[in-house]
Amino acid sequence: MSDVTETSETGTGDTSTGEDTRALAVALDGVVQSVPGVVGLVAAQPTLLRAAKESVAVLTGSPVQEARVSVKHAKGSTVVEANISVADELAAPTVAAAVHQAILHALPQSDPSDERSVTVRVIDVVPSGSQD
């Protein structure tokens, strides 16, 4: 799914470029959405702002491939944030933990001294029958 929001990156002289970070975030979108129990992935950016940006991009004919998972690089640290909706049939803590593990496995190996911080936020529990 490529209708997307903001991939944050702060290229502060790190080895990662903005494009690397963007590509990583897009890849993480797929990783997160493939975790059993995840029925939605929502960008951290406010929905209306994201919709407005996408509309502008479409109007200007330059839609941008952006990700819903947020990835930020700073010196010595990587911060990942994913906002998910989960199916009511599965326990939300279990799904969140699975998403966390999936993200950790998907993050490229880097300097062991690098700090990794992952936030997985359950923003909705969707009852069965409510899913499209």
Partner: protein, 205 residues
């Protein structure tokens, strides 16, 4: 209807930028044309689910006798809708027990309130009014208290319905959170007619 309600038409749902009225209109249109800013917003989706539930209760009243729907009924429906909108916002992050300094695994307060509201939807005769989480929910293991108000269908045995609702809430919170619930206060503060009673009240055979 009290004066506070008169200015509530623009009440926004959480931070999604849509009012309850706008979402109600969207539901009227069978959610067409699709609006991504609504379809992709978890707050809006929670509100839409709750609005469907309120409408399922309100529709029999209207069908029974439109003229019999008093301003009091309308104020009641309006009040419920406002609570739904107010409580849909994300609120505080509530950590799961597996969180540590490098992993913040959390569920939002709005989602937890949605779980309580969903438990009400699964309990015959119960419609949740307000849901308040009292205590520091941001600390894993910290005992908290839930305070829930509810309306009950006319003629339903209150104790039975409340007991079933209590069990639904406990089951749902046990499954989806690591909250330590020290107390669950349920206050039945209203009555509503359900389909059959509404028809009887209007004299419709």
């Amino acid at each position: 209807m009290n004066e506070e309600n008169s200015g509530s038409e623009q009440l926004e749902v959480g931070g999604c930028g849509h009012s309850i009225d706008a979402l109600s209109d969207y539901l009227d249109r069978d959610m067409l044309p699709a609006d991504r800013s609504i379809d992709d917003s978890p707050e809006c989706q929670r509100v839409l689910r709750s609005l469907r539930r309120v409408r399922s209760l309100a529709a029999p009243l209207l069908e029974a006798d439109e003229a019999a729907v008093t301003s009091l009924d309308q104020a009641w429906i309006r009040g419920i809708m406002e609570n739904i909108g107010r409580e849909a916002k994300a609120g505080r992050d509530i950590p799961f027990a597996a969180s540590d300094e490098h992993a913040a695994l959390v569920i939002t307060e709005g989602t937890v309130r949605g779980l309580v509201r969903g438990a009400g939807d699964r309990t015959p005769g119960i419609l949740v009014g307000r849901c308040v989480l009292k205590g520091d929910v941001t600390v894993v293991g910290e005992p908290i208290t839930l305070h829930v108000t509810a309306s009950i269908g006319w003629g339903r045995p209150v104790a039975e319905a409340v007991a079933q609702f209590r069990e639904e809430v406990a089951t749902s919170l046990r499954q989806h959170t690591d909250l330590v619930i020290a107390g669950l206060d349920i206050v039945v503060d209203d009555l509503h007619f359900e389909a059959d009673e509404a028809r009887e009240a209007s004299g419709d055979e």
